[in-house]
């Protein structure tokens, strides 16, 4: 990418700050809706980092798939299961949090140590394909990665059918015992589960 080094550094700092603060907000905020919107912001910033890494196609795919599909799907799921409930207290919550935080911090320090101490073999920047990366990506997808590409389409089809089967409601148009029409509302009723038998 042909922008100045200082600009790149500033963009990188801002984007990584948004990523870290946003992801902390995603896991720590009380309201799940705020978390979902912050998650969208994190996805957009990751797409910005991809642009800094000369990957315009993957950045566009990231915005389309993550922000446009997955985030919207999560928001719809939140709307469907949005019931205020008081979580019942569980035992050993504090020690559980302490242990998991210790594990995470240990893992983080291990990863950062590997990142900093290992000698990475950086390739010659003159060989870089630069902004032609989309062309090279297309060549890969239709030559040596053709089989995974086709298998991915089968995987998406299976996921679609599986999601439909799992999320389908087996609701009949009329009640078997009484013959009266059953109301098929899209909104979940808060007081009763849908799969219980209607007597």
């Amino acid at each position: 990418m042909s922008i100045a080094v200082t600009t790149q550094l500033i963009c990188f700092s801002i984007l990584s700050l948004i990523i870290i603060v946003g992801s902390l907000g995603v896991v720590l905020l009380e309201s799940i809706v705020y978390s979902a919107f912050l998650l969208g912001g994190v996805f957009m910033s990751v797409a910005g980092l991809y642009l800094l890494l000369n990957a315009s196609f993957v950045a566009a795919a990231q915005v389309l798939v993550y922000v446009g599909a997955i985030n919207v799907l999560i928001l719809f799921a939140i709307m469907l299961v949005n019931k205020k409930e008081d979580l019942k207290p569980i035992k050993y919550l504090n020690s559980r949090k302490l242990i998991s935080s210790t594990i995470c911090i240990t893992l983080l320090s291990l990863l950062v140590r590997v990142d900093l101490t290992d000698t990475w073999i950086i390739a010659d920047p003159k060989l870089s394909i630069g902004e032609e990366s989309t062309i090279r990506l297309g060549e890969h997808l239709f030559s040596d990665y053709l089989l995974p590409f086709e298998v991915a389409s089968v995987l998406l089809l299976m996921a679609m059918i599986g999601a439909i089967v799992l999320a389908r409601r087996d609701v009949l148009s009329e009640d078997i015992s009484t013959g009266l029409p059953v109301d098929q509302e899209l909104i979940e009723k808060s007081d009763k589960p849908l799969l219980t038998q209607k007597k």
Binding site: V26, V27, I32, V58, Y66, P125, P148, A152, L155
Partner: protein
Amino acid sequence: MNVDSIPLQAFLIVSSILFCIGIWGLLNSRNAVRVLMSIELMLNAVNLNLMAFSSYIDNNLIQGQVFAIFVITVAAAEAAVGLAILLSLYRNRVTVDMESFNLLKW
């Protein structure tokens, strides 16, 4: 791209932090939707790693970008199936509290 500009390690550290935040959220969330969001965060961290290596170490063949595309595909499928499972769980249990999904607990 001018490799002297941003060191590779900076991208790796950002992705490590993102991954660890994802693991923390996965272990500590009570809400099942938030668990799915944490998984997405971890997948994004992995993708960021792949893209950084692809741009700095394999900058001519960029096979890391192809990997990232496949990871995005699998993440989309995972999100769809995961949220469908979540919906049917919610219908059976009328809650999204992770502590109440203990049917397989011994």
